[in-house]
Symmetry: C2
Subunit: 413 residues, 2 copies
């Protein structure tokens, strides 16, 4: 059985490396001989030991019937979408790490795979080397998944860890992440939560059975998080993490899905996920909470997930009946203002008596403190309210001249 | 496709419950109609809603060709072994939660399954509802697994958690576990580490490709752990956990495998696994560390894993080529005395100057302290040495009249 790899970037070169390193073992697991016949890239790699396998001609791969599995590791929507669709239509299974494409076109591409009796697998699109997609749709077959929450982006988790553990500012931590190659020069997809959003959309689509689009999911990044917020979190045994989460809608209600920073307990299973690691909590009706932890990104972890999917395709005789979800027109996610939450707020005013005012608005609040807290600053955790109500009450404070310096959801994970 | 359940105990009744509760969804995932035709038990259940499905006649199940998958949830070696073998030989796949049988006869039963083109699956035998067996052999197909370590027994973890968090004695914590139904009246399989030993044997066999027998794995339980040891552990930011672990032998060397209590850092991924939860760390050459966490026991989590395997069997057209390991004669595990480790020791003497003596024997040691530490007690962490050497040096101390009150390995997980 022949394999083609589309794209020889970080993940693509990792896939080639892992394949040839473990080839013998992989063949045993697949139960057949495997070769990696083509590597598609627009660039030249004359010094590569695999130089004779490179091609710039996608059609050559499509038309070669010996190629049964294609690894799309180009990333982005195009040409990845067209290439994937074409391969599936030509009876080739496709495996990918491309979360943007799966989050946008997953339902459609899975349907095309089914029509052509092949597979579209994307274990590497969420959680890098952590097995999560397959456990979700197979091992947890006997569960109804009600909720998923995870630290889904290693870059932001690295930055937050530096802020928490070393009191480094957001800017300095970001600069360090860029220097170490964890963050891109334009870090917005990471720090603004877009990457985490794509991943929670994939997990929600798979778990709840209908496509959830990134545009419908309220997404807040970590750019507003300060060291003062981190200190207040520590004072109540919490850490701030960027959490992507989704909850099944009960009784025909819409899905709750959101990406935002959150206070979570520092000793919980997600609270101890540090540095570039990811952690994903899955709440099933029979299993209870199951957590998966590991390196969420990086060349070899991601490549190993892609290669695992290649083996899976090699073994499959038809499309997996369980890896699927229904298409949707979007609009199936509830307005985040309808969500009830506890909320940490940090406020500043020289005139308003903040503790008294907040108690009047919200009832009992949990005051927090930090070293060096100025007299005119007050921070607390508000009791659980709908986000709309919190916004309304806080805007009354703003009208009184109160400055809102920080605002972070408090979650129970 | 028809299913039979052998044994209507805790897990068996859970399997029946999960099956009928999620039947529609399961049929969708399996891509076919499913029925649970027989429940084998020697007892009568006239009031059960499934009364008409009970049988006491195993032969009836064997001879019914419409039964394609059998769930063996009897436990123990016999009659489970004979029943399993007979079903496989009659072309029926078998799924099980029976760790004792898999740890003892896994290689043989997997081979019989292969000969008969059916499957023998045992996701529920390790980690209850945590998906671990399938991720190990499939998602991690592209990795060489070098090491596994886990908190594999919920009962002992519950007892240790009560000792650590509530300063409860071992005896009181055990009594509470029994009262809550977490521990059996005869708790020896749990507290002496035998249950964890069976599980690490299954994980090691699968990861390293040859059968590892429980009798070859040095196993130490938690019955000797005291609150003083717990306090010393806390003083160096550690907790005591019962850890089962196995490491691939390098260059033809034997496997290292052991079950013992250990100091591990209290904020590590395994250190934060509390109460009846399990956590399993898998170290792959490409993925790095991946950790799986969840409820390691209990009726519904375990049943959901069994039902997940039933679906897997329903979908499979032949034996999975990747779930297998080679038979062995045993003797493939290294003597634990050859293992190098750091070791916590707690010693007592009225005559020997312990700190000076230990420094003379071991070089620099890390002294620990606790509230209420008597003058004649000294505790420390010894630098890494072979266990044989540690034993030899400690026996010299014993000969000088020093009393060894505690001894726990210190691990880096």
């Amino acid at each position: 059985m022949n394999i083609a790899v589309l794209g020889y970037g970080t993940v693509g070169s990792g896939v080639v490396e892992v394949f040839f390193k473990n080839r013998e073992n992989l063949q045993k697991k697949a139960g057949q001989d495997l070769d990696l016949k083509y590597i598609l890239d627009v660039r030249e790699f004359p010094d590569s030991p695999y130089a004779d396998r490179f091609t710039k001609d996608f059609q050559q791969i499509v038309e070669d019937d010996s190629v049964k599995v294609v690894a799309e590791v180009i990333g982005g929507l195009e040409p990845a979408y067209t290439f994937t669709k074409t391969c599936l239509e030509h009876g080739k299974s496709v495996v990918t790490s491309n979360k943007e494409l799966v989050a946008q076109k997953g339902a459609e591409l899975l349907a095309i795979a089914r029509e052509n009796h092949v597979n579209y697998l994307f274990e590497a699109s969420v959680g890098g080397g952590i097995p999560i997609i397959r456990p979700l749709h197979m091992c947890l077959a006997a569960n109804r998944i009600d909720e998923i929450a995870g630290i889904l982006n290693g870059t932001t988790n690295f930055i937050l860890t530096k802020m928490i553990r070393e009191n480094m500012s957001f800017q300095d931590a970001l600069a360090l992440a860029q220097k170490l190659g964890y963050a891109e020069r334009d870090p917005s997809a990471d720090v603004e939560g877009k990457d985490a959003c794509r991943k929670i959309c994939i997990l929600a689509s798979l778990s709840f059975g209908e496509h959830v689009f990134p545009k419908d999911v309220y997404t807040e990044g970590i750019t507003e998080i300060t060291l003062e917020d981190v200190a207040y979190a520590a004072s109540c045994d919490c850490v701030i993490k960027l959490i992507g989460r989704a909850k099944r809608g009960q009784d025909g209600e819409k899905i709750m899905a959101m990406v935002s920073p959150a206070f979570i307990h520092h000793e919980s299973q997600l609270g101890t996920v540090d540095d570039v690691f990811n952690g994903i909590l899955v709440r099933g009706d029979a299993t209870g909470d199951v957590v998966f932890y590991g390196k969420g990104a990086g060349k070899l972890p991601t490549a190993s997930a892609v290669v695992g999917d290649i083996i899976e395709c090699a073994k499959a005789s038809d499309t997996s009946p369980s890896l699927r979800w229904n298409p949707s027109q979007g609009g199936n996610v509830a307005d985040h203002l309808e969500n009830s939450t506890r909320m940490y707020v940090r406020l500043q005013s020289d005139t308003v008596k903040l503790p008294q005012m907040l108690e009047k608005q919200f009832g009992q609040v949990q005051p927090l403190s930090r070293d060096g807290q100025p007299d005119n600053e007050f921070a607390c955790i508000l009791p659980e309210r709908k986000e709309r109500e919190i916004e309304e009450e806080l805007s009354k404070l703003t009208n009184m001249g109160v400055e809102i310096l920080g605002k972070v959801r408090v979650l129970d994970y």
